[in-house]
Subunit: 443 residues, 2 copies
Amino acid sequence: MEEIRYIEGNVKNQQEELSLLEHAGEIVEIHGSIYKIRKMRGFAFVLLRTAKHVIQCVYSEEKASFSLEELEEESCVIFQAEVVKEERSRTGVELHLIGMEVLSRPYEKSPVVINQKQVDTSIATLLDYRPVTLRNEKERAIFRIQNGITNAVRRFLQGKGFTEIHTPKIGSAGAEGGANIFRLDYFGKEAYLAQSPQFYKQMMVGVYERVFEIAPVFRAEKHDTSRHLNEYTSVDFEMGYVTRVEELMEMEAAMLKFVFASLKEECQEELALLQVEIPEWKEIPAIPFAKAKEIVAKIRKRAVEEPEDLEPEEEKLLSEWILKETGSELVFVTEYPEKKRPFYAMDSETNPNVTKSFDLLYKGLEVTTGGLRIHNYEEQVAKMKRRGMHPEVFESYLMAHKCGLPPHGGLGLGLERFTSRLLGFENVRRASLFPRDIHRLVP
Amino acid sequence: MEEIRYIEGNVKNQQEELSLLEHAGEIVEIHGSIYKIRKMRGFAFVLLRTAKHVIQCVYSEEKASFSLEELEEESCVIFQAEVVKEERSRTGVELHLIGMEVLSRPYEKSPVVINQKQVDTSIATLLDYRPVTLRNEKERAIFRIQNGITNAVRRFLQGKGFTEIHTPKIGSAGAEGGANIFRLDYFGKEAYLAQSPQFYKQMMVGVYERVFEIAPVFRAEKHDTSRHLNEYTSVDFEMGYVTRVEELMEMEAAMLKFVFASLKEECQEELALLQVEIPEWKEIPAIPFAKAKEIVAKIRKRAVEEPEDLEPEEEKLLSEWILKETGSELVFVTEYPEKKRPFYAMDSETNPNVTKSFDLLYKGLEVTTGGLRIHNYEEQVAKMKRRGMHPEVFESYLMAHKCGLPPHGGLGLGLERFTSRLLGFENVRRASLFPRDIHRLVP
């Protein structure tokens, strides 16, 4: 029938820009956005922002078939150009412009200057104008590195036999509770947004033994600090047939080692641009919570205060001390007090006041919380009752325990916090594309 | 300091079960959950469910150091066993049990029989008892295939230069509107849950040229049908420097080809278990919307009704007709009426009543909606005004257009719908781990 056309699926990428060097001496066509124009008399330096690079171009009246005035920043173009070797250029080449087809032009100039080395503005303005400030070379490098992190995490976990899952973000209001949840009306029923995939990943341990999820979680915390986001991306894994909490920490240490090694290979350019050095390490120190409190008290020259809490300030002091003592930017804090951990945390047999759990601090900030969970049904119900909870509310969660679950545990890693530590940002918002905080719902 | 231990990150997987064949004649240790016991006199057939397989084991009183009564379904164990070649077994081996360490026992038997060939129950019960029914071999194969799909999509898109992004799921209430959004209170402001990452992925085209996201989306649709979910996983991509809508369809066709080829290689066992055949195809037919309406009217022997809508029943008829005519289970419907597409859809130059857009139908069900978008600021604002919308509400979205965007387009693919079509399920809920529909908030 004549009206039917056929779509075959032959697609190609734009000629990979880094291979431009191989085309030295040739004429190529290349598309991108004009990032910056530096006009001289009769010629101009032009930077072309392509999907992955910023390419140096030279406009000269002799060579170009179009006038200098036609060049406009943030217009999208196809250049016809000669590839010329140029050692001083980052890509090893320079493009000598011959022809230009303009695909689109901006309506207005960006209200913020985006084509300098960095966007020189307050964090509020940086975030308010995210749709354009992200076009800055350094800003966009941040999220390419973040993508490098998630790619590496996936590759690592898949290699270790983990299955990736997608669990619901809307749930029944009874299950989690607490003040920090966002509530919504779900066809007349009260529902909440998931603070974590905790219950689901535990259930799924009974199905696949090892599972992970990288997905948004939502916390209605009213903290307005440089380390809190109300929506963030949580990297969660959960694994069965684990009886020692150290096995979880070993898995995380191996994962982070793999992530760092992958970034070095795959995000070289972005890391260089942001002047980030990937830490070299062989092992991560681990220190019990109570001991950590003592150390911090000693540093502060005071008695131990609030023996069940490790305050952000204390986390910083501990991290600094560990860095000095061991050279490590990462430190596990283990054996958290029972009272401060959730009802599913497994208590230590030798000291029921502490749990088989841990946090991971990275340059002074908690980036991971993890631990062994209770897998025995009666034990879990008993602990709930001790805490005044109602097990019947958790019927479907407890169904997994009731019908048999292996010993298991897992952890959650905050992607934005981890990225911000790696890149040395004071404010975690810089590592979120479009952050949500107590004041910020747009863009 | 003695209190500091060190976590080095050496982890290993359980001996990969499929390599058991290489250990024929040896004694191995293997952990898993006892899936099924068939007791005979003095011996028993035992199925062990491991992370990826179900392994046939034989218990005999002569060989085993434990009694038959100690074996219990859904208990988690470590078996010590001799690997014996057995051609009739799916893994090529059989384990002759010697020793057993019990790690956990269920508190109660599962209320639903989960260890038959399939879970023989209504879909409501299947879903009510998801934490245990997912342990069924066929049920869990579904989501391994789904994971195979997302893995393949990621690999394909990364290979084509796409960057994966994470965009917020909570947004300002002004932007999307419409009846089908979930609203929530965000620290005193009205907010909504994202129905799609549409605005954000368009903004990001200005940053990375090609982006994708695989993440939950939320639709408060009151439809109680076999094809609707109120929360689902959307596979979205958006690409710049595209001027023909066919380029988007080519990209999707290539992606699906890659997905099918990958599944064949990586999910062989699961596909065999579910008796799914991966379709072979060279190209996907494409047919204009108006023509599709005519064809369907002809089949029904009626005049064209509701010329701007393609009803689910009509989608089915069209798909059946295309299958008969061309042998294809997939069909693109193109040139959707302007009135039925969102404000950002690009209209055709030759006929402003239709858009440069398409749907993809797979075995009678719409699985993808896509198209070119308006990239020009003034054109977008004019179209909004024609529709009675207020451009000022969309300030941050339009900032991208205002400051220059390349011609671009993209699409969204519903992961659960796609999975359910591939696997031949009548009900899309079967392809969601923990589905959310108008009645279902748990588990």
